[in-house]
Assembly symmetry: C2
Homo-oligomer: 385 residues x 2
């Protein structure tokens, strides 16, 4: 029985390996076909060409090319595994969102190639995607690093795409916090892309996860980056766009996050910066939240009522010496002169307050060191205010 079960499991795994390579993602018809028939039967039917026309269109180019063993051994060679919906670590809740969205371009992945020791489902449970332009400015890079450092330090996993610019700054910020980060690639799991991030990707694989929907051997291509972005948006509990041009791939991640029901955040920047134009465009669309600090990101993706961002006022907001006074006290204080003394009638006239109220407020000011009595009236204390 246990033998039979493990045979089944291995059969399912081989079928998923075949199916994950037979169609170029996103392959919504194949995804629906696999959901209906189960992976083993679906793989048989695809191989045999006994599929509806829309599935055939997605699979005919590669259906006869069986690279299952090659893909599994290429993955094993870099310490990667295939994670399938049948595995305990499959991020089921996240992938359910793809089905709920029901959007043609947003099918759930058929399986995910994963490199790293952590469990995928645990890694994404509290997570946030931090993405943005490859051509980031110094400002954008610093903000991405700061946000990632803060959210990773608070225990959130930072999900990004390992690209130059914002993505790399986000991964590095998470690593700098000794936090957790996931790089989602748009190419085979065995590749380092971009090449210059070879060390960064190794570091991420050691402490977090590198993930790809694409089978080993897949080359990076522009349309794959856009398709990959839905995996970033889907795995993370929310997406922050740090910098983006007017037409930016980050807009696609943002749009996917919205369709998947995830909070979408954008970082403001100088309106004079071309790299913030895409963020401001997002901020002008309904539902996008402006975020400027890690606390605000956590508030958006965190648990309601638990992860509320504290205001700045208590922390460092400037206080005025008259803050604790009554309204009348503040108005009387404003009406007093620094140099010449005023009597209560003059203060009443100047402030428009009844003289009785002025007579109450003046001692309040004296008690607070904000006014002093002189021979012929009251005046402001020169030192304090």
């Amino acid at each position: 029985m246990s033998m039979r079960h493990s045979q089944d499991a291995s059969e399912v795994r081989l079928a998923r390996t075949y199916l994950s390579a037979v169609a170029e993602p996103p392959a919504p018809a194949l995804a629906a076909f696999v959901a209906r028939h189960g992976p083993v039967r679906a793989a048989e039917l695809v191989r045999a060409g006994e599929v509806p026309e829309i599935v055939e269109k997605e699979t005919i180019a590669r259906r006869d090319r069986d690279r299952v063993v090659a893909h599994l051994s290429a993955a094993a060679a870099v310490g990667a595994r295939l994670v399938t919906p049948e595995d305990a670590e499959w991020p089921a809740a996240q992938c359910l969102a793809f089905e709920l969205a029901g959007h043609r371009h947003l099918p759930a992945p058929i399986a995910l190639w994963v490199r790293g020791e952590a469990r995928l489902d645990e890694m994404v449970e509290r997570s946030v995607a931090i993405v943005g332009s490859r051509a980031a400015t110094g400002y954008g890079g610093r903000v991405a690093h700061t946000l990632a450092l803060g959210v990773a330090g608070a225990g959130f996993t930072v999900v990004s795409g390992a690209a130059f610019g914002i993505d790399a700054a986000a991964h590095r910020g998470a690593l700098a916090a000794d936090g957790r980060t996931i790089a989602v690639l748009a190419c085979g799991i065995e590749r380092a892309y971009p090449m210059a991030h070879d060390r960064l990707l190794r570091h991420i694989a050691r402490t977090g996860l590198v993930v790809s929907e694409y089978p080993p051997g897949t080359a990076p291509a522009r349309h794959r980056f856009l398709v990959r972005n839905r995996i970033i948006a889907g795995l993370a509990g929310g997406t922050v766009v740090v910098e983006a041009g007017w037409r930016s791939g980050s807009r696609r991640t943002a749009s996917d996050a919205g369709l998947l029901g995830r909070p979408l955040m954008a970082v403001p920047g100088p309106v004079t910066s071309a790299m913030s134009v895409g963020c401001h465009r997002l901020l002008r669309e309904p539902g996008t939240v402006a975020v400027t600090r890690p606390e605000e990101v956590i508030e958006a993706v965190g648990r309601i009522g638990v992860d509320l961002a504290p205001g700045l006022a208590e922390g460092g907001g400037p206080r005025r010496i008259t803050d604790g006074l009554s309204d009348a006290g503040q108005r009387v204080h404003e009406s007093l002169s620094w140099s010449a003394a005023s009597d209560p009638d003059q203060v009443s006239m100047e402030s428009g307050l009844p003289v009785e109220l002025v007579r109450v407020a003046l001692p309040e000011l004296v008690r607070n060191g904000l006014a002093e009595r002189t021979g012929n009236g009251w005046r402001r204390c020169p030192r304090l205010g």
Copy 2:
């Protein structure tokens, strides 16, 4: 009859002059009392002290001090007039919003002192307030100037508070466009405050309007700036906050604009700038619109469907050479190599597209100069992409 009418009008004007000085704004009880009894009767009752306790509290300090003649002649000396709800140029629609808001701290002004030749109601018909911190950064000042220049150039009046920083940049931007601007003061209409803006205020009075709710002789005081802000928010068709600290008077203008049902806008800035913290705080509140260009401000305050901001894409957004291609064309283009030629089967395998679709897409690429046929297949054109 005409004699009697002009006597009435002058009687009303004298009553409003008295009432506008007898209480320190905002005086919601007095405003309601004047609305109920009319200005002439209300002034008589206030002078006689025959008023409800809440009105007495607002008026007792100044009710015996009759400065009507002094105020009218001080105003006349600087070419200012009192504009009352009985005058044709009273901005009735704007002031109705104060009544509709029904907020205790937002009574409509009892009258307005106005300096300048333009009609107040016409000036505010299409208008926008541009306000912000006195301690503006160079960035904020430039953005305020640019926004004001753009909206004033499009025929909108720029309303602001004549303060240092953002306010002054907004007024100057409007003047630079030969546009119209209104300065709303928190002191007597005959004063130049701040003193350094004496020339600016004269310039504004010559081409636009200087406005104050306060009678001549009133000194600027902190609480008056906050109270004055409701006049800025109320007169303008919408309010833009360009820069503001965490605790800023501009927040009060913004809050007033919201209560008065006017669109509220904020300009994003670097999240690292203390002078943008207040704007980002506003942007995180529901209903605030992020604006980065004059066109976006006009869209928010302008007529629906007429003043829509054009996108940037047509103007200057970067285009890709593959933009006009079909989806298949783009995927095939990505799959082609620069150096080695591929046959349609290889392209089909790499792209995951059926070979028939590849055979259609390749000539499309050739027609567009994006691919070329070589002896043994197709490759990307090296020059173009």
